[in-house]
């Protein structure tokens, strides 16, 4: 690995987090460089999604340092500071979680106009551009309930991008989708990464992770047990557990489950 310190946009150092008695993260160290795509893979319940939630301060670790572009996330104490961080870090969830009472366009426009104070017309222009990008321009006036899962997820990606984030976190964004719609969502993410958007993905789409990632991180039981280039992780892993996990998946195509931690 070749990580130059000043190019890091996200850095986690010895992050520990428990929910009650359950230790979820047991010392996570992770560095993500600007413009990189990092995939976090590993078995269900290994703390992958929790890592993402730490990065945009949706959960607070008990110890460790989290730095996002010079902001010490672990030291934020006030909600207003966390909000300031979340404006810069987009997140897309497994269950899309669009606002069901708003049209597609309003879902995308709401945050820029209400949080950033963007002029409504300008926000709409950007929203339409983003809808173009996620290939849903014709659905601007539809409601989430009228869209398929894959379409809703693409809207959710557009909603995150509308805040012009410095990086985007993707939390198992295809896990709730049927096999046919997975592809359309992955297309959109692939485009984004090619455009240079810093992305951290928790995913069970191994082939996709292999294709688009600069770094692949393998987690198990709240620890990162291996990380490296896709080539290293998927084809020449030293760690027997990693080898077992990826070989167990080979030839089976995309693997999905309902994991949501």
């Amino acid at each position: 690995m070749n990580i130059s310190a000043d190019n890091a946009i996200v850095r986690l150092e010895d992050v520990h987090l428990s929910f009650g008695q359950t230790e979820v993260l047991k010392g996570i160290d992770l560095t993500v460089n600007r413009g990189d795509a990092v995939s976090i893979i590993g078995p269900s319940g290994s703390g992958k999604s929790t890592i993402l939630r730490c990065i945009n301060a949706l959960v607070q670790p008990q110890s460790g340092r989290i730095t996002v572009n010079r902001t010490r996330v672990d030291q934020l104490t006030r909600e207003s500071e966390r909000i300031a961080l979340r404006k810069r870090v987009g997140i897309v969830f497994q269950q899309y979680n669009l606002f069901p009472h708003l049209t597609v366009l309003d879902n995308i426009v709401l945050a820029p106009t209400r949080i950033l104070g963007t002029d409504r017309r300008e926000a709409e222009k950007l929203a339409r551009e983003l809808l173009e990008k996620v290939r849903l321009a014709e659905k601007a006036n539809a409601y989430p309930g009228q869209l398929s899962g894959g379409q809703q997820q693409r809207v959710a990606i557009a909603r995150a991008l509308a805040m012009k984030p410095e990086l985007v976190l993707f939390d198992e964004v295809t896990s709730a989708l049927d096999p046919e719609t997975v592809g359309e969502v992955l297309w959109v993410i692939r485009d984004l990464i090619r455009d240079g958007m810093t992305s951290i993905l928790v995913t069970h789409e191994m082939r996709f992770a292999e294709e688009i990632s600069d770094t692949v991180v393998f987690t198990e039981n709240g620890r990162i047990i291996d990380q490296g280039s896709p080539e290293q992780i998927f084809h020449s892993a030293d760690n027997p557990r990693v080898r077992q996990f990826v070989s167990g998946l080979s030839g089976r195509g995309p693997v999905r489950d309902g994991e949501g931690i």
Binding site: E79, F99, A111, A160
Partner: protein, 248 residues
């Protein structure tokens, strides 16, 4: 005059059915009665927005997660829900109002009228019921939707404003309309402290004329009509707010 003739015609026609509306031909009693209608309509027009705004505030306090906000509101809601409105009104008027009078140096200086107390007591009573309905609606908004809003960067208050309340309002609308129908009927408690709404005015007339049945028919028809309108408007709002492809 055409008007007088119509009134006379009405009085004589209903008279043949055994009903007594003779007071309509008099100036004074007819005036009290007309004012009764207006007072009731005025009460309703004021109480609906008062109860809705207060109910929303109560619900916001109840779901705020802040003990110093939720505890007093919870206590108020419980007391209000569990005691008769008539007793609350009498307590407010006879105790609180007297207290205010003493505070400002005599009843002649007290700006609070019986009308005010009806609006305050009935309004807050119904607000307590609204608050429970809205709270249930707010709590029914999926945690994942709220988390998504947090993830985008909304503050707690903005999430309430743009996500939770719009969804909760849709979910609780049927219960709110029920409460409003109750509110319309509850305005009649005003007669206990001499607010001359329609029942008070009717009692004034029937004690003189002994025409209870005739007056009752009008009162019942009047309230039925108002509540029919309230229910219709509620249904209309429900349909207007219905979101395509969404369960509520």
């Amino acid at each position: 005059m055409q008007d007088i003739n119509l009134t006379d015609l009405f009085v004589s026609l209903t008279g043949r059915l055994g009903l007594n509306y003779e007071f309509l031909a008099t100036g004074y009693e007819a005036q009290i009665w007309r004012d009764g209608f207006i007072t009731t309509l005025y009460l309703i027009a004021l109480l609906i927005p008062v109860s809705l705004v207060a109910g929303l505030l109560f619900a916001a306090c109840l779901t705020s997660g802040r003990v110093w906000l939720s505890t007093p509101v919870r206590a108020f809601v419980e007391i209000t829900r569990n005691t008769p409105t008539l007793v609350q009104l009498m307590f407010s008027f006879l105790v609180l109002n007297t207290f205010v009078s003493d505070l400002v140096g005599g009843a002649q200086n007290n700006p609070l009228s019986p009308f005010f107390w009806v609006v305050a007591v009935v309004g807050l009573h119904i607000a307590a019921l609204h608050a429970e309905a809205i709270r249930a609606g707010i709590e029914a908004v999926p945690a994942s939707t709220v988390e998504a809003a947090r993830g985008v960067g909304f503050s707690q208050l903005q999430i309430l404003q743009y996500v939770q309340v719009p969804l909760a309002f849709r979910a609780s609308l049927p219960a709110i309309v029920n409460n409003l129908i109750n509110l319309v009927k509850l305005t009649t408690v005003g007669n206990a402290i001499a607010v001359s709404e329609i029942t008070y005015a009717s009692i004034m007339v029937w004690t003189q004329r002994d025409n209870v049945v005739s007056m009752m028919i009008v009162i019942l028809a009047f309230f039925s009509l108002i509540n029919l309108v309230v229910a219709r408007i509620g249904l209309w709002v429900e349909r207007r707010l219905a979101v395509p492809g969404y369960g509520l």
